[in-house]
Symmetry: C2
Subunit: 383 residues, 2 copies
């Protein structure tokens, strides 16, 4: 049994802490090599003392100074974008879990790929922003991109032993989020707190809002396009309130392979870490008889315009998906601050997309420029 | 693309005719080498003139004489058990579809295995009666046993690219058959016609009755034990009225892989014939949104005692499963003739099992003896 050395970008977030939970159950199989966090220095110090990585990175120089003498003696402290890249690439890790939030994940992921490390991809914005660069680099370097998102992990598991050319379509399921059963009229005055109460999954604030707007499913569609190399016509979405069927593949022969289970991110996280092996997990067994019923219904592209935007941006290609994602990041941040209403998230995205002049096959610089432009435009938006 | 030469045992039955339907769609991939039928000589003549096999076999000498000058000039006509074995083994077929009904499938299947032919196994009684002989022979001869039953095909598909040792359990789904929602009291006076009306699958008479008594699921449990080499504790059954989830595997990490689709036997038949490829099939695409709801409930071992008998016989091993199957074959035939009531099928099986003196690791002869004894005992049974 080969010891896997792991670097975790975003160790204090929801995916990061669950990754450490998985790792802590298999001390013989994993060793934490590096950890990067943003602002939650207290938790990072705690994690560093428990897992004793060789390197930790925090968001700012101030935080780095603040924690320097509270981490183990053998742990180097770095910070900022260069720190994140060092945690991703400049160490002995075999596998990098990219669980930072937002498009800041792109650069360190590219750096980790260039360094030949396996990627456990939990930052979907990486592929949304720079899909053609990331997949090209991974192919060139012979690096595996192992999905951590439950939907993509599901598709990835369904494709075990199967041929991509036999796929008729893949279908990503969507719980519908915290506001699934509300009309658009009822959505006008929802609060941040209401939006943060997801019925099935325990996730970070940004992803929870993205689930309610269906932006999250849109980002996943774009991510799936890059991850599995499928045209958008072969990617479909379906509302499934119980989040038990995590996604499925229909093959040419009309046989459908689905991955199911209780909604718990530790399963896809562990699978990415142990792939192709499967080890015992602490997650409860799926009891379909106890659940009794599973429901499915068509995605409503009018009720959830953001999923429509995502398909449109995906099909348009170039910098459109970068802008879709960046505008959304700002819109969500503004909603969480109480600056705009829930439905204004859609208006921000739509207005920024309308004004963007697309660049095809953008370079990393052009992606960063489009990203910055979209953030500015989304910040300036007045409904 | 390699042309596969196919022999079909039971070509005029439900699986046989659907196999020919699949084959007729891919004339470049398949050629029918041999066909065997029982009593339906008219249909066999029609099939022989359409597919022009080198060999056909019928149940009796009389039928063979009757059809001799109505099949193509190049088609040899044989009959009886030796004819069935010739159709299974003594020809140029690469793959043999074993779709005869009942335990008569055992000998030709063993002969086909010894002749090195891939087996598309549609006769579950083969493994139920002689599981240890068949699996031993297949292993020794390096022959693949490809399941055709929808449940076993489902499990087989779910295991693509996976490791048997990572299985926690497999779960076979059961529609519950034509009498799923009736109480035992209501079952006392059901007619043959009512029993033959299966809600989801189009199947032969014997299998349809076996579905209503849950004997079919019991035979499938025993078949799964041999096919996947799993102990009975790792095999579970679940009622799923819609027959959309055809079966599933739970792995150690609590990830579940399920195979789904519209209930149409042409999908698993085609998969066995084209494995590991998947080709376009004429079956409609699964539309979960249109279905809306899938239901699941616990198997009721009191309501359906035959599934309990099957697990008990499977765990006891030896000739017990042979006797379970043979007693059932006679009981079903007696029910279809109007000789006994629907619920008496269970009584026949139970009484024959109670009186059987088990032989462990039986030889083919001992299996045949136990089978003959059980048939006699089941025929003699008076409620």
């Amino acid at each position: 049994m080969h010891l896997k050395r792991v670097s975790i970008l975003g160790s204090t977030g929801s995916i990061g802490t669950q990754t450490l939970d998985v790792i802590s159950r298999y001390p013989d199989r994993f060793r934490v090599e590096a950890m990067a966090a943003g602002g939650n220095a207290e938790l990072l110090v705690e994690q560093a003392n428990r897992f004793r990585p060789k390197l930790v990175s925090v968001g700012t120089k101030e935080l780095a100074i603040h924690i320097a003498d509270r981490v183990p003696a053998g742990t180097k402290v770095v910070y900022g974008e260069s720190g994140l890249i060092e945690a991703a690439a400049h160490n002995d890790a075999d596998i990098v879990v990219t669980a930072v939030v937002g498009s800041q994940g792109l650069k360190p992921t590219l750096a980790a790929i260039e360094a030949g490390k396996t990627i456990a991809l939990a930052n979907k914005e990486t592929l949304v922003s720079g899909g053609h660069l990331v997949t090209e680099a991974a192919k060139r370097r012979g690096v595996k991109l192992l999905p951590v998102d439950s939907e993509h992990s599901a598709i990835f598991q369904c494709l075990n032993g199967e041929s991509i050319s036999a796929i008729r379509k893949i279908v990503l399921t969507a719980s519908g989020g915290s506001f699934r059963d509300r009309t658009r009229e009822e959505l006008k005055h929802v609060t941040v707190q209401e939006a943060l109460a997801h019925p099935n999954w325990s996730m970070g604030a940004k992803v929870t809002i993205d689930t309610a707007t269906m932006v999250n499913k849109g980002l996943e569609v774009i991510e799936a396009h890059w991850l599995f190399g499928l045209p958008y016509d072969q990617i479909d979405v379906l509302i499934h309130p119980e989040s038990i069927v995590h996604s499925f593949v229909e093959f040419e022969d009309r046989s459908v392979i689905a991955q199911m289970g209780m909604p718990d991110m530790r399963v896809p996280i562990q699978y990415a870490l142990t792939y192709p092996d499967r080890l015992v997990s602490p997650v409860p067994s799926l009891d379909l008889a106890a659940l009794g019923t599973l429901h499915f219904r068509k995605m409503d592209f009018e009720r959830f315009p953001c999923i429509r935007f995502a398909f449109e941006c995906g099909r348009a290609g170039g910098t459109m998906t970068t802008v879709f994602n960046a505008a959304n990041e700002i819109a969500v941040a503004r909603f969480l601050k109480g600056d705009i209403s829930f439905l204004a998230i859609e208006s921000v995205i739509e207005s920024v997309l309308d004004r963007h002049v697309k660049i095809d096959l953008p370079t990393l610089e052009q992606i960063e420029e489009a990203d910055a432009w979209a953030r500015e435009a989304a910040s300036a938006f007045r409904g």
